[in-house]
């Protein structure tokens, strides 16, 4: 086993564990922390695949900006511990087996696809994007969708402002 493979399994385990913890944790802030763990592990996985820029942006945007807002809101509302419900029969007898089946199916197809083969070969892919190549694509080929997305986000922010102001 080479170092990238070992790192891959460690980060993968952390990501999965974080995701499970996110659902199982009862205090909202613990769920938020678990989600941050997932995002940081994913960033390291991107790094192993050679996508430095995506990894950094993953941490800056998701772990750094979005999750800080989540934590901020949880702190502001001082959200308490959630109550556990009894499992519904539906979830127990239909949901759980179906969920496991879905996971196995995804694992099967990933394993058979070229992505799985490449990951098994130790991470670092040949299609690694340099920051320059990425920005060339983003600002030349995909310029219109890029700008359209930014306008869409702006409209969403304005909409949120209007909704917040109306309730006053």
């Amino acid at each position: 086993m080479t170092l990238p493979v070992i790192l891959f399994f460690i980060c993968g385990a952390f990501a999965v564990a974080g995701a499970i913890l996110l659902i199982l944790a009862r205090a909202p802030i613990h769920s938020a922390l678990a989600l941050i763990l997932v995002m940081v592990s994913l960033a390291i996985l991107y790094l192993l695949l050679g996508a430095e820029f995506i990894a950094a942006v993953q941490i800056i945007v998701y772990a750094g900006a979005i999750m800080v807002l989540f934590v901020f809101v949880i702190m502001l509302l001082n959200a308490g511990v959630e109550n556990r419900t009894n499992w519904s029969k539906m979830a127990k007898y239909a949901g759980l087996p179906l969920g496991i089946f879905l996971l196995l199916e995804i694992a099967h197809w990933v394993w058979r696809s070229s992505v799985g083969a490449r990951m098994a070969n130790g991470g670092a892919s040949q299609a690694a994007f340099s920051t320059r190549a990425l920005s060339m694509q983003l600002f030349q080929q995909y310029l219109f969708p890029f700008e359209a997305t930014s306008i869409l986000i702006l409209i969403a922010i304005l909409g949120a402002l209007v909704l917040a102001k109306r309730s006053e």
Binding site: A27, I29, H30, L33, I36, V40, A43, E52, F53, A55, A56, V57, I59, I60, A63, G64, A65, V68, L69, V71, F72, I74, M75, L76, N78, S130, T131
Partner: protein, 396 residues
């Protein structure tokens, strides 16, 4: 020996990490001494004086005191998060230093550059990534203490750090446009030549925005609202005691060092000398500076010091003179140039930090927020657009 040459990256990196940690921890300790001395000077006091000559052993005494204090955990706190927060704060603050190049990449051992732990192509982005999750240390500390003042302090600091991070990042993009690189060495090498090529001249607006946002980002006076004593007792770390408190303290100082290093790299030419390369006498500066300091210490030892302090200061004198002599050895001389200039510039920045702390009063919270969003952000945005336009026009 085979193992070392086979795993050069791993072995050399581990050694570099150990050395960097030792140097930075010592620097952190003496930064507190430096700050207390300078602030004392500004306020016409003596500052630490009795523990060691000129209070030089005060950081050691403080560290021991922190270690032996009782470590209190509030019973209603969220234990796991309460313990996690200071670790998060300190480890993230120290991680950023791994990306900083303290000297030119050309000086190598086993094919690895000596003066940087992690030489990344997108060092600047990684640094921002790590600082952007640095907020959690403070926010979680405030929340997990489960007490009024820490919660308010934590909320304030998260709001402040999010707000100023935007301006901090935007103010730096101008430099990126000029240098055309994310890597620290690329940015520094773009400023090569002499003092006139430093980015601070074309990017003076960006620099002023950066330094303002940086002070706010590190929660220092005049933006130290998260720990405004008069309103919030001690802000987010009110409930922390003993070494956990010390960890927050160290994290704050480590952040100060990182931000100063970044300012040096981006705007002041990093490890480059301010003089043109043809002035060969500048090679003697590191050694000469240390020897001058040693001579001053010698004067102090003989004239001012008495008793045990005289002995301690004699040691300091010998260290300075010996270090200066080593720096003058022809083989060592070119190696110490980079670190010498880097440390000098960073030291100047830290002095400015302390100077500001000793001089300015604290902002009010609403002033802080409206200043950040209504003045700093538009100015740094305008600087970015202006720089982009200028580059476009010049290149045409």
């Amino acid at each position: 020996m085979d193992f070392i040459s086979d795993h050069a990256v791993l072995v050399v990196s581990l050694i570099k990490i150990a050395v960097l940690l030792f140097v930075v921890m010592t620097a952190l300790a003496y930064l507190t001494w430096f700050e207390r001395k300078v602030v004392a000077r500004i306020q016409s006091r003596w500052g630490p004086y009795y523990v060691g000559a000129h209070g030089l052993l005060q950081p050691l005494a403080d560290g021991l005191k922190f270690l032996f204090k009782e470590d209190v955990t509030p019973p209603s706190s969220d234990r796991f998060v309460y313990i996690l927060a200071p670790f998060l704060a300190l480890s993230l603050a120290l991680t950023t230093l791994a990306l900083i190049p303290f000297g030119p990449p050309g000086i190598q051992v086993f094919g690895q550059p000596v003066f940087v732990v992690a030489n990344s192509n997108i060092g600047l982005l990684f640094l921002f990534a790590i600082t952007s999750i640095g907020v959690y240390g403070v926010a979680l500390a405030g929340w997990s203490s489960n007490s009024k003042y820490p919660l308010l302090g934590g909320l304030r600091s998260s709001a402040q750090m999010i707000s100023y991070e935007v301006s901090l990042t935007l103010s730096v993009v101008g430099v990126l446009l000029l240098a055309g690189s994310f890597s620290f060495n690329g940015i520094i090498e773009h400023q090569g030549g002499n003092i006139g090529h430093w980015h601070v001249w074309p990017q003076i607006v960006g620099f002023l925005c950066y330094i303002t946002a940086a002070i706010a980002e590190t929660n220092r006076v005049p933006f130290d609202l998260p720990e405004a004593e008069t309103e919030l007792v001690a802000g987010f770390h009110t409930e922390y005691s003993s070494f956990k408190f010390a960890m927050f303290f160290m994290a704050e100082y480590a952040n100060m060092i990182t931000v100063s290093c970044l300012a040096t790299i981006l705007f002041f030419g990093g490890w480059l000398s301010p003089f043109p390369a043809s002035w060969t006498w500048q090679l003697f500066l590191p050694g000469a500076g240390l020897i001058a300091l040693g001579l001053y210490c010698l004067y102090d030892t003989v004239k001012e010091m008495r008793g045990i302090a005289q002995l301690q200061f004699a040691v300091v004198t010998l260290l300075c003179l010996g270090g200066g002599a080593i720096c003058l050895i022809p083989r060592v001389m070119p190696i110490v140039q980079g670190p010498f200039w880097f440390v000098t510039k960073v030291g100047l920045f830290i002095f400015v930090y302390v100077w500001i702390r000793g001089t300015l009063p604290r902002f009010r919270y609403d002033q802080l927020m409206s200043f950040g969003w209504k003045l700093l952000l538009p100015v740094s945005l305008a600087n970015l657009v202006g720089t982009a336009l200028a580059i476009l026009l010049v290149k045409r």
